[in-house]
C-alpha cells in the first residue's frame, strides 16, 4: 500500500458532548473500524447515532474526545484537501460560476490557472453539466447543484471522499439519478468513499460494505460486505439478492 492511497483507520473513537446543567452526552462510544483504499463504504444508522459526527471527524472538522483517526497512517488533525467532503446542504458558492466553483480546490492548492481551468472543464463535462460552466448556483436545480459539488470535490483529487447524506435533500427521482451518476463516476475513477445515509437501499446500492450503527451512543452493530457485482444496473434494487440483503440489514437496524 502506497503512502497516499486513502486508507482510513478509526481507532477507539468516542465523542462526548459537554452540556450545561445536564449530564454529558456520549454520541459515539469507542468506535473502531478500518476502511480499505478505493472501497465504497456506507455508514447507516438512526438519526442521532453519531454517523455524521464520525464522518466530520474523518474530515478533521470535529475532534474525537478519545481515540484517533488515521489517514494512510497519519492522524487527521484538521481539514485538508486530502479529505474531500460533500455536504447535505447546498454548498455551491453562490457568488462564483460553476467553473470557478470547480476550480476552487486546484486554485487553493496553487496549481497554474490554465491547469485549473482544464481540470474544471473536464469534471464539468464528466458530471454532465456541459454548457453550464458560466452559470450561477441560483440558476441551477437541486440535482445540478449536487453535480457541481461532486465535480468540485473530484476535481481536487482528494485521497478520500466523505459524503454526508449528500442526496438527502433531493426528491426520490433525482436522488436515484444522482446515485447512478455517482456510481458511474466512481467506477471511472475509484476512490475511497465513506457515505453517510439513513437510507438502507441507497447504502446497499452504492457500497462494497455497509456498516450499521446503533442509536445513541453510536456503536457498530454490524459491518456487512455487499455481495452484489459491479457495475450495478438500476433494476438490481428489485432483485431477490438485494431485497434479501436489505431485509437482513433492516432487522439489524431495528433490533
Amino acid at each position: 500500500m502506497s503512502a497516499e492511497s486513502g486508507a482510513l483507520a478509526v481507532e477507539g473513537v468516542s465523542h462526548v458532548f459537554e452540556r450545561v446543567n445536564q449530564p454529558d452526552l456520549t454520541v459515539l462510544d469507542r468506535i473502531s473500524l478500518s476502511i480499505e483504499q478505493n472501497s465504497f463504504v456506507s455508514l447507516v444508522g438512526p438519526s442521532g447515532c453519531g454517523k455524521s459526527t464520525l464522518l466530520r471527524m474523518m474530515a478533521g472538522l470535529e475532534h474525537p474526545t478519545t481515540g484517533r483517526i488515521l489517514l494512510d497512517g497519519r492522524t487527521v488533525e484538521g481539514p485538508t484537501a486530502s479529505t474531500g467532503m460533500v455536504f447535505q446542504q447546498d454548498a455551491v458558492f453562490p457568488w462564483m460560476t460553476v467553473q470557478k466553483n470547480v476550480e476552487y480546490g486546484p486554485r487553493s492548492r496553487g496549481l497554474p490557472r490554465a491547469e485549473c481551468a482544464r481540470i474544471a472543464e473536464q469534471w464539468i463535462r464528466l458530471v454532465g453539466l456541459d454548457g453550464f460552466a458560466s452559470s450561477y448556483s441560483r440558476e441551477l436545480s437541486g440535482g445540478m447543484r449536487k453535480r457541481v459539488d461532486l465535480a468540485r470535490v473530484y476535481a481536487n483529487n482528494p485521497r478520500v471522499l466523505l459524503m454526508d447524506e449528500p442526496f438527502g435533500a433531493l426528491d426520490s427521482q433525482t436522488r436515484e439519478t444522482m446515485q447512478d451518476e455517482l456510481l458511474r463516476i466512481w467506477e471511472a475513477e475509484r476512490k475511497t468513499v465513506v457515505f453517510v445515509t439513513h437510507d438502507l437501499e441507497e447504502a446497499l446500492y452504492l457500497s462494497d460494505r455497509v456498516i450499521v450503527m446503533s442509536p445513541r451512543p453510536g456503536r457498530i452493530v454490524v459491518s456487512e460486505a455487499v455481495g452484489l457485482g459491479r457495475p450495478r444496473p438500476a433494476n438490481i434494487r428489485i432483485s431477490d439478492e438485494f431485497v434479501a440483503a436489505r431485509r437482513r440489514l433492516w432487522s439489524q437496524l431495528h433490533s
Binding site: A59, D90, A91, W95, E139, N156
Partner: protein, 258 residues
C-alpha cells in the same frame, strides 16, 4: 442568465413617476390659488426660477460643492473604517469581544447628539462637520458589516476548508463575498444617515453649503430658497443612492432572490 428589465422603463417606473407628478400638480394648484400666500407657499415656477437663478449666479453651485465635499469625505472615511473594523470584528472572536461592547454602547446615540461635543472639541470648522458625518456613517455601516461576516454559512467555510483553502483564502474568497450584500445594505443606510447629519451640522455650524442655504432662506423668509434647497438635497441623495444600487446590483447579482 435571464436579463431583467432596466430600471428606467416599464410600468413600475411609470407608476412611481405618476405619484410624483400628482403631488406636483396638487401643490401647483394650491400655491397658484388667488388667495394663496406666495411667501409661505411659493408656486413651482417660482421655485424653479430660484433654482435657475442660483445656478446662474453660482451660489447654488458653490453650496452643492461645499456640501458634497463634506458628505463624500465623511462618508468615505466612515465607511472605510467601518468595513475594515467590522470585517475584523466579524471574523476574529477576540477582536469582537474587545470592540463590540464599545460599538454597541455608542450606536444607539443619534450622531446628531455629538454635534455640540464636536464643536467644543474641534471648533466650528470643516473638520467638525466631516467628523460628525464620519461618525454617522461609521456607526451605521459597521453593524451590517459585522452581521454580514457572521452570517457566512458554516457549510461554505467547511467546504472551502476541505478543498484545501488557507485561512487567508477563506477570508478573501468566502467571507468577504458572502458578506457583500450586507455590506452594501449598510453602505446605503449610511449614505442616507450622512445626508441627514450633514444638513443638521450645516444648520448649526456652517457659513456655506446646502444646510446653510436652507437656514439662510428661513432667516429671510425666502421659502422658495428653502424649497429649492430641499429639492437639490433630494436629487443629490437620490442619485447617489441610485449609484450605489447600481453597484450593488452589479456586484451581488448572485444574491438576487428573484
Amino acid at each position: 442568465m435571464a436579463r431583467r428589465r432596466s430600471w428606467w422603463v416599464g410600468r413600475r417606473t411609470l407608476l412611481g413617476l405618476s405619484s410624483f407628478g400628482a403631488l406636483l400638480i396638487v401643490y401647483s394648484i394650491v400655491s397658484n390659488l388667488p388667495d394663496a400666500n406666495q411667501v409661505i407657499t411659493p408656486p413651482p415656477q417660482a421655485i424653479f426660477a430660484t433654482l435657475v437663478e442660483g445656478v446662474a449666479d453660482g451660489t447654488l453651485f458653490s453650496a452643492i460643492l461645499a456640501s458634497l465635499a463634506r458628505v463624500l469625505a465623511g462618508y468615505f472615511l466612515g465607511c472605510t473604517a467601518a468595513i475594515v473594523l467590522g470585517v475584523l470584528m466579524g471574523w476574529f472572536r477576540t477582536f469582537e469581544y474587545l470592540v463590540d461592547p464599545l460599538v454597541e454602547a455608542i450606536r444607539p446615540i443619534p450622531p446628531l447628539a455629538y454635534i455640540p461635543l464636536v464643536i467644543i472639541w474641534v471648533g466650528i470648522d470643516e473638520r467638525s462637520r466631516i467628523l460628525v458625518i464620519f461618525l454617522a456613517s461609521f456607526l451605521t455601516c459597521i453593524v451590517s458589516t459585522v452581521t454580514g461576516i457572521k452570517q457566512v454559512p458554516r457549510v461554505f467555510i467547511e467546504a472551502a476548508q476541505t478543498l484545501g483553502a488557507s485561512q487567508m483564502r477563506l477570508f478573501l474568497t468566502i467571507a468577504i463575498p458572502s458578506a457583500l450584500p450586507y455590506i452594501f445594505a449598510g453602505l446605503r443606510v449610511a449614505l442616507a444617515s450622512s445626508w441627514t447629519t450633514l444638513v443638521a451640522a450645516e444648520l448649526v455650524a456652517a457659513q456655506d453649503g446646502l444646510g446653510w442655504l436652507l437656514q439662510n432662506g428661513r432667516r429671510f423668509l425666502r421659502t422658495d430658497v428653502v424649497m429649492a434647497g430641499v429639492v437639490v438635497i433630494g436629487v443629490l441623495a437620490f442619485s447617489m443612492d441610485r449609484g450605489l444600487r447600481y453597484l450593488q446590483r452589479r456586484w451581488t447579482r448572485w444574491a438576487d432572490v428573484r
